[in-house]
Symmetry: none
Subunit: 234 residues, 2 copies
Amino acid sequence: MKNISIILVKPQMGENIGATARVMKNFGITDLRIIAPRDGWPNERATAMSAHAGDIVAKAKIFETIADAVADMNMVFATAAKSRDMEKPLITPEQAADISFRQQPAKVGFMFGRESSGLDNNDISYANYHVSIPVSAEYTSLNLAQAVCVMCYEMFKKYPEQGSRTEVLEPLSARKDIHEMLSFMERELDNKGFFQVAEKKAGMMINIRNIFTRGNYTEQEVRTLRGIFNAMLK
Amino acid sequence: MKNISIILVKPQMGENIGATARVMKNFGITDLRIIAPRDGWPNERATAMSAHAGDIVAKAKIFETIADAVADMNMVFATAAKSRDMEKPLITPEQAADISFRQQPAKVGFMFGRESSGLDNNDISYANYHVSIPVSAEYTSLNLAQAVCVMCYEMFKKYPEQGSRTEVLEPLSARKDIHEMLSFMERELDNKGFFQVAEKKAGMMINIRNIFTRGNYTEQEVRTLRGIFNAMLK
């Protein structure tokens, strides 16, 4: 992920720069480049909004032009709404993540335009690909940091991170414990006259077995179920 | 997408409610439910932040409890960080989108916790599945509206493929039927003296709720379970 950069082209609101830094850090991306921020630099609101990603805001690199900002990169993606005159291959965020990953260790940049009007054709002309995030036709304007969120999320899914947490699941009960519980239930339900029509009993037991085999219960949960049944039978 | 709801559990900041509404509309989801918003309701900052999604904020439904908010739903997903004591299948946003899509036309809800602390174990016990958004171990705390963004984006990617679903699943029971069954069990277990140590009862009920919310039961299966319990109680 250290080879991936987020490039904001003429962003207008400091809050959006801060929210961008925060979500970059959530997905393990740390290089932020900003071209001609409207309100100058540094920007207090960007720092405030970044929460625990103040380090990313603090070391953001400021440029005058796209050409300068992407000079050291190997591949650039322009994230923008679909337009009528497409000059670049139009791809999805997933495809962009896949293409950039296959190019590793290339340096890769993702450009995002200003809040009011996005990237123009001139901006997009600096990119290898035009990425369009699929959105509802009812409301196509994504917040800047939300667009960054989608791209970083797709990159993070693609690029396995070293040291990311692995889950430790509770061991499940042995199947025999489930089967014993079901036999116990069958006996007790017989005693209570639950199976009124003998011919239907087998089918009813299949239904009951489906209910309790689907649960992926831990050993403790099987004990809890047994305890519940014993209490009810008292 | 009209069968999908976003459920915010005790959200603290109006800005995040507004940003949530905006990104919901970007991805074609319109039903917003809010449980006990900290600053009351309506909330001017939510409306201001929602931009062109003011309609979603205006018709958001306010509830006191999770049980009420999800009563008419068939399947509930809890979006939360990974925890040590997992009681529910832990799935990715993609898997959640896939599972919910295969259950259509089931009514599906995605729960998100308060900004400061997320969903607690009691909240999660109302869900069928625990969804965890993959994030960097360096900074795991996603902004609320960014978490909603990732889920809505994955749903939007999945759902336009109408007609690709071939299997027809049995419709699931409404959550209120599960809640009524659990209330019935709690009452009857109380009568039987099952909860011997009063201080442990709440925790035991969370365990029991987890066992029975995970089952994806059909209406018929809930009736079967009620029949089993009634027979045992005779």
